[in-house]
Amino acid sequence: MIDDSLREQAALYALDALPADEAAKFRALTREIPELAELVAEYEAAGLLLAEAVPPVAPPPGLRSRILAAVAAKPAPVESPRTAAIWVPWGIAAALALAAGALWYQNQRLENERTALAGASAELDQLRVASASKDRVAADLRNRIAELEKRNALAQTQVATLTSKLDASYLASIAWDNSAQEGILKVRRLPAAERGKDYQLWVIDPNSAAPVSAGVFTVQADGSATIRFAPAQKVSAATAFAVSLEKSGGAASPAGPIVLSN
């Protein structure tokens, strides 16, 4: 009997929405309760309706040929030739003949094997218990690693807000990951750069003699821009950020007016 609680877990498991530790416990249950595994399969099929409701999108050009080129480089493991099947009956007949010859010997061994089988069965039960326990431990570890990675990523992300002395409405924010040496700049309400000019982002690194260029950018009609950037050279520590207005294509070091800074 599958109660409501198990049905809830089955639905969540089918959508991969159980946390790892709960999923490991539930997976063990599905091995013991076939009806539960069947229910999960039905929920999975139901969930996939959502995928089918997504409108198809024509893939990028060339993807088909890239896939075919990729598989051509990796020949599929094909089925064994059918000729092998012809020999199967002969093989069975030979095995039966051998088996008949060995019958007497096997009878002698049968009792010993029964005893061994009982031992193996008990050992198997123990292994199942140990395996379930290891599943739980592994799931716990995966959870802890994921949590640590999440904390680590957050700890490494430095967030800065840039304002302007030219116009208080200009605004920008930066998320900078020093270990990855990359960041995201979001700009709001910044007017388009005048003809022949570009906005240029700079990273101030105390260990660098001059500000490090992180590239030029333009804003959209509404004054916004979202740019993923990586500085031109390695930054040991980003203590500040600035945006200046430079000649088109950018400058080697800031020469134009500072538009945004923190």
Binding site: E8, A11, A17, G47, P59, L68, E79, I184
Partner: protein, 183 residues
């Protein structure tokens, strides 16, 4: 060539059959991967990964347990969610480049296939439309955003019990629809 026939031929190393399978499902899988990851480049890699997986594992495919469409969709969804969760543990996904110009696209498969798919899609859309909005929202956050039930509860500011119940009720309705042939 039917999807089942494609699978049989792929199992025997027929590359043309893989191309035929791509023609039938490439658009669906690319749309799904793009919907989940929000990133065309990643979606492209996922679709390639799916078809290479199909190529390598076609022999193990059991047509009595699921259809090729179900297998392909599940592969694409699982690979997309894996990528989504991995990137969520790092930085936010790269934003779309505002200056990027959409590429020219491969054409979608032939119109008769599209019409058949369109009929089924319409029935599926009708089924999803019958779900109460809060059940559909909870199911979609799990399916497309790869959120676990505690994460969904936080996102929706609801109790875990409420979220569990909504997902179960939503999936139960869809399950009944599948059993009834989507009628």
């Amino acid at each position: 060539m039917s999807p089942d026939e494609c699978m049989r031929r792929i199992a025997n190393g027929n590359e043309d059959a893989l191309g035929a399978l791509y023609d039938q499902f490439g658009g669906l899988l690319f749309g799904l991967a793009r919907r989940i990851t929000g990133n065309e480049r990643e979606a492209e890699e996922i679709v390639q990964d799916v078809f290479v997986t199909v190529w390598r594992n076609a022999r193990t495919f059991d047509g009595t347990r699921s259809s090729p469409a179900t297998w392909l969709t599940a592969l694409a969804r699982n690979k997309s969610i894996d990528r989504l969760r991995t990137s969520r543990r790092r930085l936010p996904a790269p934003p779309p480049d505002p200056e990027s110009v959409p590429e020219m696209r491969d054409p979608l498969p032939d119109p008769s296939q599209a019409a058949l798919a369109g009929d089924r899609a319409a029935r599926i859309a009708a089924c999803l439309g019958e779900l109460p909005p809060n059940q559909r929202q909870a199911v979609e956050l799990a399916f497309f955003d790869g959120l676990t039930h505690p994460e969904i509860a936080t996102r929706l500011n609801e109790t875990i019990g409420t979220v569990k119940s909504r997902i179960r009720l939503g999936l139960d309705r869809l399950r009944q629809k599948v059993k009834g042939g989507l009628e």
